[in-house]
């Protein structure tokens, strides 16, 4: 089986896969990369990266169209940091519209207390280390998911992951309308997971955050394929995105191939 390392060595992009479809080795590599980031205390470590979105830096963008572009740049930075630790690792996406989630709730990869070798599962929770925390602030993440039958959990009717379209019609072809509708489902999912995930200042500390936003990014990508001629406001495209160690504008984020990743399951060359 071709790996991301093989693909990247051949000049291709790394594939992001469903959390439900990672092989045991791929899941182990992702956990290893996360654990290594969590072991770092500098500005290349997990706490620094989570603190870009939330406390203390609080640079995240929501409720404006470029929230999708900002989070794409943010995931790019996080994925680069992962690959600094373990070659070829990508963020897996969590399809929360799937039958598996609507039956069993949070995927086992995030819910298991330990990994197969008996060590703590770094995808279950994360410590929150801050320089000057208030005594009441959280020191590690926790979740409080609602029932899989909760109306908060977006369904495959709400979000057509095959087409990258949303149940709310009419605005689908308009980037602003699409962005706002997708933000609503995004908000619902944060709220459904509960705990620190339900609040922007703390959500990125939860290891499930990255896979939730990878799903959001994937839906946006599928929408881009569906509506390749969507018209963007030029002023918006030139807007800079404030994410450390990057200097992207919104326009820089539109082509994920340039960012070195893709969502295709596989690519079969035609000869």
């Amino acid at each position: 089986m071709q790996t991301n390392v093989d693909r990247m060595a051949a000049g291709g992009v790394a594939l992001r896969k469903s959390i439900y479809q990672l092989t045991p080795d791929e899941l182990a590599a992702y956990r290893e990369a996360i654990a290594k980031l969590m072991a770092r205390n500098d500005n290349k470590g997990y706490n620094f990266l989570a603190g870009v979105h939330g406390v203390p830096q609080q640079l995240c963008v929501h409720h404006q169209w470029h929230w999708l572009a900002w989070h794409r740049a943010y995931l790019y930075l996080f994925e680069q940091r992962l690959q600094d630790q373990v070659a070829g690792v990508t963020i897996p996406w969590w399809d929360w519209t799937s039958a598996a989630t609507h039956t069993n709730g949070i995927p086992q990869a995030f819910a298991d207390a330990t990994t197969p070798d008996g060590s703590p599962n770094p995808l279950l929770k994360a410590p929150i280390h801050l320089l000057n925390p208030q005594p009441s602030w959280p020191t590690e993440t926790h979740r409080s998911p609602r029932r899989p039958t909760s109306p908060l959990l977006p369904t495959s009717h709400d979000v057509d992951v095959k087409q990258g379209t949303l149940a709310i019609p009419f605005f689908d072809r308009d980037p602003t309308g699409f962005s706002e509708s997708l933000a609503g489902y995004h908000d619902n999912l944060h709220n459904w997971v509960g705990g620190e995930m339900s609040m922007p200042p703390w959500s990125a500390y939860d290891p499930i955050f990255w896979s939730h936003h990878c799903m959001v990014d994937r839906i946006w990508y599928l929408w881009q394929i569906q509506f390749p001629n969507a018209v963007f406001d030029p002023a918006l495209l030139s807007r800079p995105l404030v994410v450390p160690d990057t200097d992207f504008t919104v326009a820089d984020t539109l082509d994920i191939t340039r960012l070195g990743y893709g969502y295709a399951l596989t690519e079969l060359p035609i000869t």
Partner: protein
């Protein structure tokens, strides 16, 4: 799960049955999001709706949205205060806690009501708080849904 203060007795006019529209939205303008995260359920003509009311058409449920709430202020004094005015040369992006607009699409419910000859509708808003962490100030939980204006907006 616990329900915070419900908002009842809100009355909205409906369009005549002859009005052509492809989509009807309830629009919350100036919605605050500095408090806890909230699931907000909307019911039509169900003044007694609460957290236990089924989320079905028959019970008057028409939709929901989430407030992805900040959960309080995690900074020093004034950190989360949204400025009421801006200096002319303040070119920074808007404050992250600037109130937002939320749409809840209620097209099918409005069509059913207007087809039955209804001229107005009462709206009940049921906020649901779920396992709010202790570090979220209690005073923000009592009234978690605050907005400036609620309208019904129709699109042709």
């Amino acid at each position: 799960m616990n329900a915070a203060t419900r908002l009842t007795g809100l009355r909205l006019s409906l369009p005549p049955d002859t009005t052509p529209f492809s989509r009807a939205d309830l629009v919350f303008f100036g919605l605050e999001h500095g408090g806890p995260s909230v699931e907000v359920r909307i019911f039509f003509n169900a003044p007694d709706a609460d957290e236990s009311t089924p989320t079905t058409d028959e019970a008057g449920f028409v939709g929901l949205f989430s407030i992805f709430g900040h959960g309080g202020c995690f900074g020093d004094e004034g950190h989360c205060d949204v400025p009421e005015t801006r200096r002319p040369n303040d070119l920074r992006p808007q404050h992250p806690l600037t109130p937002i607009t939320k749409h809840v699409t209620v097209t099918d419910a409005v069509r059913r009501l207007t087809a039955a000859g209804a001229q107005d509708v009462t709206v009940t808003i049921v906020p649901l708080l779920h396992d709010v962490p202790a570090y979220v100030p209690e005073e923000l939980c009592a009234e978690p849904v605050k907005y400036q204006r609620l309208s019904m907006v129709l699109y042709q």
